[in-house]
Amino acid sequence: MALRLAGVQRGPAVVGLLIAIFLLLFLLIPVGKVIVVAFQHPATGEATIVNFLDFFNNSLFRESFANSFYVAAMSVLVASIISMPLAYFTTRFNFGGTALIQTLGIIPLIMPPFVGAVAMQLLFGENGSVNLLLDEWFGFTLPFMEGLNGVIFVESIHYFPFILINLSAALGNIDRAMEESAQNLGANGLRLFRRIVFPLAMPGYVAGAALVFIKVFDDLGTPLLLNVNTMLAPQAYLRVSSIGISDPMGYVISVILVGFSLLSLWISLMALKGKDYATVQKGGGGLMKRDLRTWEKAGSYAVIIFILLLVLSPHFGLLLLSFGTIWSFAVLPDAFTLAHYATVFSTATQYIVNTLWYAGLAALLDVILGTAIAYVVWRTELVGRRWLDYGATAALAVPGVVIGIGYLRTFHGVNVPLIDQPLASWWVIIVVAITIRRLPYALRSCIAAIQQLSVSLEEAAENLGATKARTVWRVVIPLMSGGILAGFVTSFATAAVELSATLMLVARESDAPLAYGIYEFMQSAAGRGPGAALGVVAVLFVGIGAYVSHLIIERGKYARSAKSIVAEES
């Protein structure tokens, strides 16, 4: 009996062990190293908190810390102000603009914030189009992009969909009967909102807000491109890239970033824990909706169109920049040209080719790891299998900067045999970094796919003579393929614009991916045109990827609704 079990478990055990080693080497050890170094005396190597004291005794770091916190909190506030009316319109009114609002929730996500940052400067900066017009018409200007304002503005326009999606879902999950029974018992108006709607929607909002906070807190690319260096992530990057990897301040900042990430994740977990407020029952469906009066409709559309313009402005600005000749102290560029695209395709194809390679390899690795982890966790009895899931998901709490610093520190002394260079400066390490960073998303996609798979479908195959391995090949993988494919496409699209970890790991220009190329170009005024053109290419990558993965998921939904067999399971 024991022998037979061992035989059946041997395959998963080997796979599980390999995954564990991969996670250990490329996630736990590098991050652990960063934490250890942060608590080590730079000269003697003793355990100490002196680095943290140094950090808080330095006014630059204190300011950076305060700025990061302020920017993240303000971004949550601004993103909430943008999201709330939109979520309210879709869930309370019968309203034709709902499709428009759903589109609003997607457009920002297909452009990484750092790509649009420079274009935003040209549109909203001190001498940007909007302020030039304001000055000409009304005689005043607004400091949209001044210092930290710029970061807050760009980040909140990019990240508000996280709040919008979570808040709309939370509101949409409230059953009409919840509202009606409250009215039946005598509550209405503000009391109804305060006592029923608000508490039911709160967990979704908090989860979205925590996500926005941490994304902004960790972001490296946007402040760098807007030339705001007095924030934590840019300080960590600058210390490591200018002073070197022995400077302890980069590590201290990393520990602070990881700490805040964990705190945010914990808050969002606590907000949702034990509060599965999906109260919609069969035949129910959302809060009571009413029709809008004409003037209300006009007002709603005005708000939506205003937000739509804001949301489209980075895309619009980027396009203008990529086709414009000279754009300075003018509402629009002086003239239009294709020269920047010609430059990109003659001198910068290496970036695009590298990106296709890196993102493709990373996405492939992610779905292989994701499928294997999902299977081991959900379909085997392997001891400690849950830790593979926890381990891979832990990457969510590790900012790209920290991965970058950790890899540099851990692998600079590790020589790769045959090619004779340190692992830390080999292009493969970029792929590994991206793989680790995107793994949590691919994993969730694979786990969702395997959870929808009824175990009896596998048991039927075994009952008819297929071994575990044959069953995986003939039944599990084909039926998971939709989820796996969706995971691949999302990983690929987001990996294509990964900047924070790669910025540190690119050892030479010829190894650099697209995001790095955009960053390089945008450093000089002359490079902005080609940089924007490259940015448009990046947006196309992500946009097409997002659309394809949306198609795959929709097709999967259709296929599932058609097959009643599994759904009928009692």
């Binding site: 048991e459 039927a460 075994e462 003579g465 067999i565």
Partner: protein, 364 residues
């Protein structure tokens, strides 16, 4: 143990001292069972009784049990599910949605490395047998519930398993289809003379299909026998209650002045017993073994006649079920309903006669 196996050389499935636990929960407690070759056998019990767990243990799914499972004399307890050669039809059918009907049915033959030509022939033959050859190129999602059920059956039968296991195969069908499918399954089983185990919580399904059945409760086999035996002569109160409406009245056995064995209920009613050996503190009788008539004023209690008051009536179509209060004991009485015949109403005084041969004495 060996002698038992030799005795059961004819046996299709023998289960010896099977114990199984989910973690700390002991689900099957020392199950012993012998099913004849070619027999249609039912596992009947309420949910949580362990019947499905027992069936899955035979197929090799779920936690590893202790004890022995023999199929045609061979111990299969150490084999993996794919080595066992027992065919299982799942409650949800478990048809693979990414394969056509034909690919679904061919699956088991492909895994057995049968030549393609023979696979095609056998698949055609089995689809013909279940009457769905014309749907061979459809996807499972394009089939009705009954058709899916037949395909699931065909997919299992095509590999010619030694034993057919059916896990609540009718529970996802509507009432009419259920009756039709249980006949079809029974006819198919008779034709193929295939040893079949059928798991159900529905006593009518078990009664109508099986040669013999085992009633399970809390992981223990309560009784094994033919459906009629179990209904008429339940070994214990659980079996008596599970197989249909029944009267259970508490009391003590005594003898009257003529040395006739009598049963005195706790409320004081005295009922004569015919069986002279049985012992127990409860009498059990089915509602249809009680006759009901109007109480005639002045007539005393004679024979097993009891007098009481109707306090509850239920019209069930072919019968009317009365609840009669006899000195505080609630007695159910089934009376065949015929058009035009008078019925009793709540509050009517009635007299009951219990057929003496229909009275069982049970412990508990």
């Amino acid at each position: 143990m060996t002698t038992q196996v030799q005795q059961n050389a004819e046996a299709g499935v023998v289960i010896e001292n099977l114990n199984l636990s989910f973690g700390n929960t002991h689900v099957l407690k020392g199950v012993n069972l012998s099913i004849h070759q070619g027999e249609f056998f039912a596992f009947l019990g309420p949910s949580g009784s362990g019947k499905s767990t027992l069936l899955r243990a035979i197929a090799g799914f779920g936690p590893t049990p202790s004890g022995r499972i023999l199929i045609e004399g061979r111990d299969i307890a150490d084999l993996t599910p794919w080595q066992r050669d027992v065919g299982m039809v799942f409650q949800t059918y478990a048809l693979w949605p990414h394969m056509t009907v034909r690919r679904n049915v061919a699956f088991g033959l492909e895994e057995r490395k049968i030549p393609r030509k023979e696979i095609n022939e056998r698949v055609d033959r089995v689809l013909e047998m279940v009457g769905l050859l014309k749907l061979a190129d459809r996807r499972p999602s394009q089939l009705s519930g009954g058709q899916q059920q037949r395909i699931a059956l065909a997919r299992t039968l095509v590999v010619e398993p030694k034993v057919l296991l059916l896990d609540e195969p009718l529970s996802n069908l509507d009432a009419n289809l259920r009756i039709q499918m249980r006949r079809e399954i029974r006819e198919l089983q008779q034709k193929l003379k295939l040893t079949t185990i059928f798991v159900t919580h529905d006593q009518e399904e078990a009664n109508t299909t099986s040669d013999r059945m085992a009633v399970l409760d809390q992981g223990v086999i309560q009784q094994i026998g033919s459906p009629m035996d179990l209904y008429d002569k339940p070994d214990n109160l659980f079996v008596a209650k599970f197989l249909g409406a029944t009267n259970i009245i508490q009391g003590t056995v005594m003898r009257d002045s003529a040395d006739q064995r009598m049963f005195r209920t706790d409320s004081g009613t005295v009922i004569p017993l015919v069986d002279d050996t049985a012992v127990g503190g409860k009498i059990v009788f089915r509602p249809q073994n009680v006759e009901i008539r109007s109480a005639v004023a002045g007539a005393g209690v004679e024979g097993t006649g009891l007098s009481g008051v109707v306090h509850h009536t239920e019209f069930l179509g072919s019968i009317i079920r009365y609840g009669v209060d006899v000195n505080g004991d609630d007695v159910l009485v089934d009376h065949t309903h015929r058009y035009g015949e008078s019925v009793f109403r709540t509050g009517d005084r009635v007299e009951l006669t219990i057929a003496p041969e229909g009275i069982l004495l049970l412990e508990g």
